[in-house]
């Protein structure tokens, strides 16, 4: 029997998804037993037909036997129909429950988990591992249940026919089991190897396809073809090896079944001569052997499946057992926030060394705070703490005076708007991406916000406008276009607090001005945090903080910061000095644009 000790540990977890179906499972198992018994019973009837009907020349007995035989077969038919259907349903419900649990659990895990674990690894748990379980539970389960029971029934049947015949047939059982076991082990290894080589090859092809532009641009076709040939060849070899084993095993079982038949005939012949056995028993005994060897082959076939399913389940369990680092406290509070934001002596570290050292900040409702400074200084980390993607090691982040840790997480986050430097787009359309945080927004609302940030200009390029499809991760759109869409998404979310983390770095300045005006209009009275590198972008902030090495080294308004000698001025000077060096600065600097003059320049840049 193929169930070793290994898969059980992982697979037993699946029973969690059985409740509600327990009765169905019991019924199905009972049906399975009946179904396995049916062909054996049919053969016992054949024995009777041979010995009584034919041997004693009783045509009526023959007719009765055939009638029963057909009846039993018909019952077996019905049983199998029910069983195949029922087991598939039970198995699939289990897989669905597991998949959903796994996915739901994943969405609650913190960003730290996702930054430590590779995306590909996580996705494989949800897909190929869950599929491996699904395969076993849909096709494999029927094969496993029916064939295991059939072999047991056949052995019982042999003993019913004649115990001496049974023993003579089972002589080959020990070597058969040993060979089957050996085969299972090496074939499992072989098929693992096949899967591995397929995975490597598929990854190689996928990488080539998505990197084709670079391969072709650098004339690397030859090198990649060589690489591919290696992978393709390894796959061919591993496949050949697995088939070699298969080609040995099944003919081997065939030989053993012939040996077993010969031994039944030999013993049977002797016993008949002694008069202690009927010819019907011998013939039906030979037929029963089919019911042992055929299922044995099928079981060997799915043994590998069962083993991989066990391995898959173990990996899935490792994800399910990961505890969410950020979660709601028992008495978490739902709060409609105003947007008063406070960092109180916040210290935070990803690993051992703190990234933020006792930072204190305050942004009043409707205020705009800009964070500037070199990368790695802690700006983005601060923004992530506002979204409660991480909790501070010490100190607290408070909104409207409430520590974030006391708020109901999802409800709080729904009142935020976040735009990142390399924003992620979901496949769908431009419109569906804008709608992401507000699935119920009307078309007019989407169009308005698209217009406000200048997406309408981009959408005009496409025949289908805002309904233009967006592919995997936003491929086909430029970095700037993706940013515009994600800004529209954040605006439509109608957030109380907006976080722009280098959100306009890839957008040209006129469009950025357009966006700023839209923000001024749409976010009046709301709190915003801007992380930016363009000095022009941070002008509009009420307060600017220079963050360096996890400390706030300077804070103040744009003009007051420029007026004093400090880190902000040297940041500005850097840019200025460079510009001068390149001969970029005009002799007489133009007057710093007021809102009006800026909008004039925007108007001139807008294509009619």
């Amino acid at each position: 029997m193929p169930e070793g000790g290994t898969p059980r540990t992982g697979l037993s977890r699946l029973s969690r998804y059985l409740p509600g179906q327990r009765r169905e499972v019991t019924v199905l198992l009972a049906l399975g037993v009946l179904m396995a018994a049916a062909p054996v019973a049919a053969l016992l009837i054949v024995r009777d037909a041979i010995d009584k009907g034919m041997g004693h020349k009783e045509p009526t007995r023959l007719a009765v036997d055939v009638g029963i035989y057909l009846g039993v077969s018909a019952i077996a038919w019905l049983l199998q129909t029910t069983l195949v259907r029922g087991l598939a349903k039970v198995g699939q419900n289990v897989v669905l429950g597991l998949r959903q649990d796994l996915f739901d659990h994943l969405t609650t895990l913190s960003l730290r988990y996702f930054s430590e674990q590779k995306a590909g690894w996580i996705i494989a748990r949800l897909t190929s591992d869950a599929d491996a379980l699904s395969d076993v539970l849909s096709q494999g389960l029927t094969t496993l249940v029916v064939n295991t029971l059939t072999i047991l029934a056949a052995v019982v049947g042999l003993f019913i026919i004649d115990w001496r015949l049974a023993l003579s047939a089972l002589v080959i059982l020990p070597p058969t089991l040993i060979i089957a076991r050996k085969f299972q082990v090496s074939s499992h290894a072989a098929f693992l190897r096949v899967r591995e080589t397929i995975a490597i090859m598929t990854a190689q092809i996928a990488e080539s396809v998505s990197g084709m532009a670079v391969i072709q641009a650098f004339n690397r076709e030859r090198a990649f073809l060589d690489e591919f040939d290696k992978a393709n060849d390894a796959n061919r070899r591993s496949n050949t090896h697995a088939q070699w084993l298969n080609s040995l095993f099944f003919p081997g079982i065939e030989v053993l079944s012939a040996v077993s038949m010969v031994s039944v005939l030999w013993i049977g012949g002797r016993l008949i001569t002694h008069g202690s056995l009927t010819i019907g028993s011998v013939v039906s005994g030979v037929f029963v052997l089919n019911l042992i060897f055929q299922p044995l082959q099928e079981l060997s076939d799915i043994y590998g499946q069962v083993q991989s399913a066990g391995a898959a389940m173990e990996k899935i369990s490792s994800v399910l057992d990961t505890e969410a680092e950020i979660h709601n406290q028992p008495k978490a509070e739902r709060l409609d926030i105003e947007g008063d934001l406070e960092f109180d002596q916040v210290t935070f570290s990803y690993g051992r060394d703190p990234v933020l050292h006792a930072i204190s900040l305050h942004v009043p409702v409707g205020g705009c705070l800009a964070l500037v400074g070199e990368s790695g200084g802690g700006k983005s980390t601060s923004a992530k703490l506002v979204g409660r993607f991480y909790d501070p090691d010490s100190g607290a982040v408070r909104v409207d005076g409430h520590d974030l840790r006391t708020l109901e997480l999802r409800g709080y986050r729904r009142q935020l708007g976040v735009v990142l430097q390399d924003p992620f787009l979901f496949s769908g359309t431009i419109a569906s991406n804008i709608r992401f945080a507000q699935p119920n927004a009307t078309d007019e609302q989407v169009e308005d916000v698209a217009k406000a940030v200048g997406i309408d200009r981009i959408a005009r390029r496409f025949d289908d406008g805002l309904a233009h499809p967006v592919r995997e991760g936003g491929a086909g759109l430029s970095a700037g276009e993706r940013q515009l869409i994600s800004i529209a998404r954040a605006l439509l979310a109608d957030p109380r607090i907006l976080i722009l983390d280098e959100a306009t770095s890839n957008i040209d300045r006129p469009t950025e001005i357009l966006i700023e005006r839209a923000l001024d209009r749409l976010l009046r009275g709301r709190t915003s945090i801007i992380i930016a590198h363009r000095l022009a972008t941070v002008r509009r902030a009420n307060e600017i903080c220079v963050v360096e090495h996890g400390h706030i080294t300077q804070r103040g308004t744009f003009d007051s910061l420029l007026a004093v000698d400090g880190p902000f001025r040297s940041l500005a000077k850097d840019l200025e000095g460079q510009a001068q060096e390149m001969g970029l600065l005009p002799q007489s600097p133009p007057v710093i644009g007021s809102r009006e003059s800026r909008s004039a320049s925007v108007a001139s840049s807008e294509p009619e």
Binding site: V46, M54, V66, S73, W77, T81, V84, R85, A88, K89, F103, D104, T107, L111, A119, I122, L126, S134, I205, E207, S210, A217, F218, N219, D229, N235, T240, S247, F250, P251, E254, V255, A258, L265, W266, G269, I279, V283, V286, F287, S375, L409, L416, Q421, D422, F424, F436, D463, G473, S478, G480, N506, I507, R534, A536, Q578, G583, P586, P589, S605
Partner: protein, 594 residues
């Protein structure tokens, strides 16, 4: 001058006749293996018929001879059975092994052909087809072909041999009983065939549904920060659950079809067997049939089931294989590559100029992106291409290495139309850094040296210094030997861009195309890069698209692209003073600090 503007990149599936011819061609390539498989299949069928015949004689002549018949010794019969079984072992092994090797080899061959073709296909092909589709055509889609050619063709012929053999033996033994027994059997093949036809589309559909689940999983995992940031976990959970639910429904539907057909396929032969038991039993009673012959009928009917089922499978497999092959062959034959000149001209020596002459361009699916671009870049000049988001900068730059050809007008490199140069020559003269940097899952060192594997190490280091790679490379776990990508270290967007930049510098190309090469690089690093980059670019002609003034500063001259045309040109300082659009793009950035 301009030929047909658009390449054919989405050909219709091939018809049945050419597809069948193509498959036959693949089969013939493996004729030695196929022949070995067929010979063994014949021998296997013969032995599998002979064994029940010997057993029949053992029963009739030795175990249970009819009354008054001579009682032979049993052991010679059994010995013959054993010997036959032993002979059958190597034959069966060879049959299986040769057949599956045929399939494996055909699969590998098809994959090789497709991959080679992928390497030649133009960008337009990759715009038209999703990555997953292109990959699965060279992987999963090949399995029906493998199983049909590897297993189906030989097994089909063997099934026919077996069916004929069994029919002949049964008719020789007892014509009437054979007719009764065999009458229902062809229905097994028909049932199987219908089953295959019903279940295959469903299983293909289930595959598609599984792919949808993968996509949903992939998106949510990669985009988890967005999902959590907006608190939309419920939405994605609902969407994922819905897709996973579809898979369950699909599999259950498939099981329902199986539940309808499979038991029928098993039940049908039992009707035949019941007929044999009844009518054969009568014949035994009336001494028209021996017990051994009864055994023979019963046994051979059992042996007949699989070949008949196999025929049904093979027929439906054949349909799948031809469908899949017709798609693959259509790609292999119907996709146009960027045309190579018949007698390519050499790329001129020395620093190269670049000219765009009245260049028009449109993607096949949309309106014109470039409408009459005129641009001359002198040898060794560094030119910045600026313009609002979506102005056509990337489209313009992609014409130089011939990712696309212009729909009208010419692109000249060193005074020669790029369409007159060998594509490989052109691309070794022009290096491009794409907007989304693509690195491969190989060590950093190999990524850097991808364009010139024999580059001297000190040149590599110099380029890494200029591109800001050296800055972080030493901190990686294995330095320059660190494995990059899914199975290694994930670099940040800015780091990837710097590696791509260094890779282009190391390649030694005389023209370098930089498409927003520092968009993901932080400001401070960018400043460092801007200072270092200029010397590293010395002597090369550079086209640079950017959104940032600090990057524009690298350039000698800037042009502004707007609505597919160049509207302003001059040094950055000139443009700041006089260029309306350039001023709008960048003016404020300068004035803010001045």
């Amino acid at each position: 001058m301009s030929g047909r503007p658009f390449l054919s990149v989405d050909p219709a599936d091939l018809g049945f006749a050419p597809t069948a011819k193509g498959l036959a061609g693949l089969w013939r390539r493996e004729r030695q293996l196929v022949a070995a498989g067929l010979v063994c299949a014949f021998a296997y069928s013969a032995i599998s018929l002979a064994i029940p015949l010997v057993v029949q004689h053992a029963i009739d002549d030795s175990i249970a001879p009819a009354a008054g018949h001579h009682h032979n010794a049993l052991w010679p019969y059994l010995l013959i059975v054993l010997v036959l079984a032993l002979i059958r072992f190597p034959i069966n092994f060879t049959r299986r092994y040769a057949t599956s090797r045929t399939g494996i080899r055909v699969e590998a061959r098809m994959r090789e052909l497709l991959y080679q073709a992928y390497l030649r296909y133009p960008r337009a092909f990759y715009d038209a087809h999703a990555t997953g589709q292109v990959v699965s055509r060279a992987t999963n889609d090949l399995y029906p072909i493998r199983y049909f050619i590897g297993w189906g063709m030989t097994q089909g012929l063997q099934s026919l041999m077996m069916i004929c053999g069994i029919a002949i033996v049964l008719f020789i033994v007892n014509v009437k009983l054979a007719a009764i027994a065999l009458i229902a059997m062809p229905a097994v093949a028909i049932l199987t065939y219908n089953f295959g036809r019903k279940v295959m589309p469903i299983s293909r559909h289930v595959q598609q549904l599984k792919a949808d689940v993968t996509e949903a999983a992939d998106e949510s995992v990669v985009g988890i920060e967005m999902v959590q940031a907006f608190g939309r976990e419920d939405d994605v959970q609902g969407r994922f659950g819905e897709k996973a639910g579809f898979v369950r429904d699909g599999v259950v539907r498939q099981a329902r079809v199986e539940a309808t057909f499979l038991p029928g396929m098993i039940f049908l032969p039992t009707v035949s067997i019941a007929a044999v038991v009844y009518f054969g039993g009568h014949d035994v009673i009336h001494d028209h049939l021996t017990t051994g012959q009864f055994y023979l009928f019963y046994q051979l009917l059992l042996q007949l089931v699989w070949p008949l089922e196999a025929l049904g499978w093979i027929l439906s497999l054949a349909q799948r294989a031809t469908a899949s092959a017709s798609r693959s062959f259509a790609w292999l034959r119907g996709i146009e590559t960027i045309p190579e000149p018949e007698s390519p001209r050499a790329v001129p020596d020395g620093p190269l100029s670049v000219q765009f002459e009245n260049v028009h361009f449109a993607y096949s699916s949309g309106s014109e992106v470039l409408s009459g671009v005129e641009l001359e870049v002198a040898p060794g000049e560094v030119i910045a291409v600026c313009g609002p988001t979506g102005a056509g900068k990337t489209s313009l730059l992609n014409l130089l290495p011939r990712f696309y050809d212009p729909t009208d007008g010419r692109v000249l490199l060193g005074g020669v139309d790029v369409r007159d140069l060998g594509i490989a020559d052109l691309r070794s003269a022009v290096a491009i850094v794409t907007q989304r940097p693509i690195l491969f899952s190989i060590p950093l060192r190999e990524n850097l040296m991808a364009a010139r594997p024999d580059a001297p190490w000190d040149e590599v280091l110099a380029a890494c210094e200029a591109a800001g790679v050296a800055h972080f490379a030493e901190d990686l776990p294995d330095g320059y030997d660190t494995l990059i990508g899914e199975r290694g270290v994930n670099l940040s967007g800015g780091q990837r861009q710097r590696v791509a930049l260094a890779r282009a510098l190391i390649g030694g190309a005389r023209v370098i195309v930089l498409d927003d090469p520092m968009s993901a690089v932080d400001t401070q690093t960018e400043r460092h890069l801007v200072l270092n980059l200029r010397p590293a670019l010395a002597g090369r002609t550079v086209l640079l698209a950017t959104q940032r003034l600090s990057t524009v500063q690298v350039a000698d001259r800037a042009v502004v692209l707007s609505d597919g045309e160049i509207v302003e040109s001059g040094t950055p300082a000139e443009l700041l003073a006089s260029g309306a659009l350039f001023g709008a793009l960048f003016g404020e950035e300068v004035s803010a600090v001045a």
